[in-house]
Assembly symmetry: C2
């Protein structure tokens, strides 16, 4: 697939589809009159307190870092209504998306070091930009090697207090910043069990706790159940200096109950670090909003829906780039063996409980997305819509308990005339 061309004009794939656009923004702004683009953009991103999202004024130091080291830096602002009995509670939140650095054929130690070096720059940019809570991408210390089914990639797994945590603890302390670090975890106290885990590092560099991915995919190249099992940490919400946060890791976003449970435990911001691609061998698509691969479409749809249904903010992250592995593998789709997982399409973004969302970061480039968000918006939406109060949880507790039994009989009312012949 071609990269975006420099003057923003479309170029066309062999199959006639448009290629190379960084985002839906780009394709629409390049092709619509300004006042129509403005309208469509408002329609696509919704309104926050009745207005389009404002930009955050970014620090010169952060901008200099992004320019010098060639990554995107954008910032948007979610407001809430003024309250009389409570001050605004504005926090600055950051999401980082990035590609790996070195070929996967090189020494694991070198690969990891190079990623740490790159992340250091992006985290510095967040720090000097005054970010309070920062989330990194899923399994950020390594290539997303689960497509290979080769167990040697388990070498990248680390204990909760391992090297990557220590690296981030220092930066958390330096910048007074909460950092969420999703890694492959090695649980040495339980016979070297491997987990997909997010570690929450407090703004004083302390480890507040961890959450282990609840739902594990078994689809396409997402052979993750080969490596780790369903998490055993429930649905913890972490009360940090800057707000109550939770982490719904990757495939967990397909499960409305997982989103719900973090909400019931009081989360105000739920992060969804993930690694997701368009289907292999499909023509690549230019835009984050929809795609021949349902995965790409779902990322935006599910996050916004979850933010609204649960009255909290969502920060969605996807890694960037194509990762090529040493040995070819098949994908269970009858197609020839190949060495890559497809293109991780970035497009990280924020969604708010009022249904508005930020534009997405690039499909191709590393980036830091910043958002100021007034957490008061969460309770304001709860008070307005009353979803929690009208939800009838007792009914569903009973329903799910019954459903979980092997002899569950669905509530089906059959037409008694079902087998009568039509007139």
């Amino acid at each position: 697939m071609d990269k975006k061309n420099e003057n923003g004009e479309e170029s066309v794939n062999k199959d006639g589809s448009i290629c190379g656009y960084d985002s839906l923004h780009t394709i629409l702004s390049a092709n619509l009159k300004p006042h129509i683009y403005q309208e469509v953009s408002r329609l696509l991103h919704g309104l926050n307190c009745g207005k389009p999202l404002e930009l955050v004024a970014l620090s010169a130091n952060g901008k200099a870092l992004s320019f010098e080291h060639d990554f995107d830096l954008q910032g948007f602002c979610f407001r809430a209504d003024k309250e009389f009995l409570r001050e605004p509670r504005v926090v600055r939140v950051g999401l980082i998306q990035n590609s790996i650095v070195l070929p996967t054929t090189l020494h694991f130690l070198d690969q990891k070091k190079a990623i740490f070096q790159k992340l250091k720059l992006l985290i510095d940019a967040a720090g000097v930009s005054g970010v309070n809570i920062l989330c990194l991408q899923e399994a950020w210390t390594m290539p997303f090697a689960f497509c290979t089914r080769e167990k040697r990639w388990c070498e990248f797994a680390e204990p909760v207090d391992g090297e990557s945590t220590q690296f981030l603890q220092e930066l958390a302390r330096k910048y007074n910043m909460v950092i969420i670090s999703p890694i492959l975890e090695r649980d040495v106290n339980h016979g070297d069990t491997i987990w997909n885990t997010a570690i929450i590092i407090g703004n004083h560099g302390n480890i507040i706790g961890k959450h282990r991915k609840n739902h594990i995919p078994r689809v396409g190249d997402f052979n993750e159940s080969t490596y780790y099992m369903e998490g055993n940490t429930g649905h913890p919400v972490f009360e940090t200096a800057f707000g109550k946060i939770a982490v719904n890791i990757c495939y967990g976003r397909h499960h409305p109950l997982n989103w719900l449970a973090f909400g019931l435990n009081g989360a105000e911001i739920v992060f969804n670090p993930s690694a997701t691609v368009g289907e292999l061998s499909e023509p690549m698509w230019p835009i984050e909003l929809a795609n021949p691969s349902i995965e790409i479409f779902l990322m935006v749809l599910q996050a916004r829906n979850a933010a609204i249904a649960n009255s909290y903010f969502v920060g969605s992250i996807n890694r960037v780039g194509t990762e090529v592995f040493p040995n070819p593998f098949t994908s269970g789709d009858g197609k020839p063996q190949h060495k890559d997982f497809g293109h991780f399409y970035g497009s990280s973004h924020f969604s708010a409980p009022d249904g508005s969302c930020t534009p997405s970061l690039s499909r191709f480039r590393d980036g830091l997305l910043i958002s100021d968000m007034d957490l008061n918006l969460c309770r304001q939406l709860k008070d307005k819509w009353g979803f929690r109060m009208t939800a009838r949880y007792e009914l569903y507790a009973e329903m799910l308990a019954n459903y979980s039994k092997a002899d569950y009989e669905p509530q089906v009312i059959s037409d008694p005339l079902l087998h009568k012949k039509s007139p």
Copy 2:
């Protein structure tokens, strides 16, 4: 707000927003080059089995009725992959959206008769078009009068086997068509209790059963809890001659658990008949995809999300037009009293379990939307994504049972350094 102008050009509201477009389709097709429009349209509506949705060839008789009586008629086709051990199971499904006919100041009997006459034409069009399963809009026999809080509108309530049901039973028999009839129900066997109910009429004109709305809003002009209470019919799935169907009435779409429960009981198509508007006194917005009112935005977003998460088709219906009531009322928003609920913006549409969706019907006109759908797609998506199998329902049954207790303590892990001063 201006109506759409005839040559498809935009006209502009006082606040600079574009007004009068029938749908997002219209605004984009009028303003983008054809090949770019095609791409954007595919992005907005997703792909079904890797392709844009095809049109259904509509019968000449149906088209004649729609032309003669000035309502929209559109048809789209959702395919599934070919299977080796199972034939395709294609059903033709219809959704009807309509405005009321007479002013709400006229005699209730005349208002009701006029609606019946209009519906007869739309249902005839569905019948001659070969529709197998047809759903009408919420409380279709009456104006959506719950904004008034006046109890006299309860006169429109009918028993399950009342006048409107008898009217539809005849048409169901005539056209060998299942009809879903959402009405205000009067339960005479329980002291004239009022419910918001969908009645399922079989293709032989028999009453298969009923479902009562599970979740009742208390927000803005949606004073529905003034009139009826939370339903007591669980989450029934109706096994009809043409497939397993269920009904998630209106505000129930805000509750992921309600969608889920119909799925767990085996629904292949879930209808969401509703009545929803943009907020009063907000500038009216032209497009169904998003809006200053979260309600309008949510209709499309939630339906598509539910279709994907639960591996079934969704048919979403909203009524059309502005209904003006005899006596002014306030809306709990500090704004002056007024006599209307706002504009019901239509935009009825179908969503599929693979994330694709049809374009929406008009925001302004009565319409019949038809879709052929191969129900095999539901199981194909279940097999592919495995959401049911990875959902860990036991975990959530326990979680919800605990949450339902008054002394529930959320799973919160607090930073022990929370009250330490920052460096």
